[in-house]
């Protein structure tokens, strides 16, 4: 396919996304060489995965799942009770009831990418916190493309049963010496009554990699879903638009994104939250920086019930003349008694902020990078202090060489 066709496709709303020609450009992960065990990873691979928050030692984690190309290389819970972690293909065999969760929040025929995943699933993870269980340390998962020109097709299911609490950190990456690939990741999250999921995803792709996550979330009464999404490195294109349905009273969903687009990257991102039940609350907050890449920051809040409260915030910094940031905030209220708001600000760094730091002795470049670091320095809710520090250092490192 020509790149022009793809560019045109990217301009369309995500709901119309889909691109069979793009998929055909890559060979399926099932044809790529599997990674037999994690010890075979090279040092630079381990480092790259570390930059996505994935620590191969498994220290401070409740479980580890590593999927390289099409195969599950590592899947271990280390004896942690109250949580299940297994390849999704295995879970489908083990639990007949899982069918009721399969393709329920994302439609299988939504677009070419979901169709491809349904047709040629490689694998994915199944994570389930049992009722009332609070899993203290996060589970870490990693979806890793190791061979060039490969399409990886993933489908994940995460369930937090009633009253449980679960933290998942997902690192997605391509091999450091690999540039081209396609990652399709379907994820369905079920937050039952009074349960909580904190989901943190860090992307670290290559410069000619296409990424198409398709995510659905359902949150029941008093449930909480917190999503943190971070991408700081070059990627050809990302198109992601998770949709959360808040079906129970006082359900809460919050989406935080920190997005950096270097030159050549096209990132179409955002979230939609449908507040269906009274007292439901939501926030969609994004911080975006363009170093010459294109970013679309979407957000759509739909208020269907009385007493819902929702806020949308897009803040964008353009640090290169060629950069484009397009904020598309949407508020849609179907009843009168709602509290919904948005604020969006896009532009370059204010001169007075730079000069404030210069008056304290920094050069213009130092002042700029201090402000950018601060802008990206988002305290991520729901994460331990250690993990927050870890993410901050990833963000700081990610800034180098920009």
């Amino acid at each position: 396919m020509s790149s022009v066709t793809h560019e045109e496709n990217m301009k369309k709303p995500v709901s119309q996304g889909g691109d069979e020609a793009l998929i055909r450009r890559f060979s399926p992960a099932s044809q790529a060489e599997p990674l037999k065990n994690a010890e075979l990873l090279e040092k630079d691979e381990v480092e790259k995965l570390k930059d996505t928050g994935f620590d191969l030692s498994g220290e401070g984690r409740s479980g580890t799942f590593l999927m390289a190309n099409c195969g599950v290389t590592k899947c271990a819970c280390g004896g942690v009770r109250g949580v299940e972690l297994m390849p999704v293909t295995e879970a489908l065999k083990k639990y007949g009831w899982l069918k009721e969760y399969w393709w329920q929040l994302v439609e299988a025929d939504k677009d070419a990418f979901t169709k491809e995943t349904e047709r040629g699933l490689d694998n994915g993870y199944f994570i389930r916190a049992l009722p009332g269980e609070r899993i203290v340390y996060p589970l870490q998962t990693c979806l890793y493309i190791r061979s060039d020109n490969t399409a990886q097709r993933v489908h994940n299911i995460v369930i937090a049963e009633e009253g449980s609490e679960l933290h998942v950190i997902t690192g997605c990456a391509t091999h450091p010496h690999l540039t081209s690939g396609l990652h399709i990741g379907v994820s369905e999250f079920y937050v039952k009554k009074g349960a909580k999921i904190v989901f943190t995803m860090i992307h670290n792709w290559g410069e000619d990699v296409y990424v198409r996550p398709r995510t659905g979330v359902r949150v029941e009464e008093d449930g909480v879903f917190l999503s943190n999404y971070i991408t700081l490195k070059g990627v050809k294109s990302i198109q992601t638009y998770p949709v959360a349905y808040l079906t129970g009273t006082n359900a809460l969903a919050r989406f935080n994104s920190v997005i950096v687009a270097p030159k050549g990257s096209h990132i179409d991102t955002g979230a939609k939250v449908v507040l269906e039940a009274p007292g439901a609350k939501s926030e969609i907050i994004s911080r975006t920086i363009s170093y010459g890449g294109r970013i679309i920051a979407r957000g759509h809040l739909v208020g269907l019930a009385k007493g819902v409260k929702a806020h949308l915030e897009c803040q964008g910094l353009i640090l290169s003349e060629e950069g484009v940031i397009h904020a598309i905030p949407e508020l849609e209220a179907h009843v009168a008694d709602v509290d919904m708001s948005h604020e969006a600000a896009v532009g370059k760094i204010a001169k007075e902020e730079i000069e404030y730091l210069m008056a304290r002795g920094l050069s213009e470049e130092e002042a700029t990078s201090t402000i950018v670091r601060g802008f990206l320095n988002v305290e991520i809710e729901g994460l331990s202090k250690e993990l927050n520090e870890e993410l901050k250092s990833i963000a700081t490192e990610g800034q180098k060489g920009m």
């Binding site: 008056a359 201090t370 601060g374």
Partner: protein, 243 residues
Amino acid sequence: MLKIEDLWVDIHGKEVLRGINLHIGRGETHCLFGKNGSGKTTLLMTIMGFSGYEIKQGRISFKGQDITKTPLNERSAMGAGLLFQRPPTLRGVKLKDMLAVCRRGKDDSGLAEQLAVKYGFDRFLEREVNLGFSGGEIKKSELLQLLAQNPDLTLLDEPESGVDIENLQIIGDMIRKLLQKDIHRNRQKSGLIITHTGFILNYVAADRGHVMLDGQIYCQGNPLEIFEGIQKYGYEECVRCRQ
């Protein structure tokens, strides 16, 4: 320390300063009185070297060097510091990060932190700088930064504005430290304070006062006497007096 000769400054093509002459010696503190819009802040911003203040004529010397064209951060490195009246908020940058910036490359004993604790302001070190700070909190934050920076010439733009009486004492104490008011011989630090209300003079002694009107310095002399005169007769008296 600071010598300004026949300084003319435009902002967006509009003449704001018209032939300023000012000399501040080492160890001296001067006060600048004047109505709103008379050009006081413009003078401070020009001395510090901010963009948007176009020098049409004249010259600024600092420590014997011509700094008329020197960049802002170099003036800071040479030992000039400014207390901002309304500083911008820096998201994600904490006050303690700012203190680290200010003391960079300097021999600092952590005085700013000690004073933060002394004045019950230490919890602000973890706050994003100026985000949701009250008037008094902004001044304390600014002064802590300046104490870490330890400039030889401090320019203070209305340090008492938005500060309640209780905190005025603290602000005064901090300025006195900054300007070495506890040293009576061989004082090294100089200051230029803009004051609208003159209240700060109750806490910080000044050596000389200047009245600024319409971009010009109209009158110079004993700061307390000038301030008394302004309180009694208003700025109009300065205009008449000069005529």
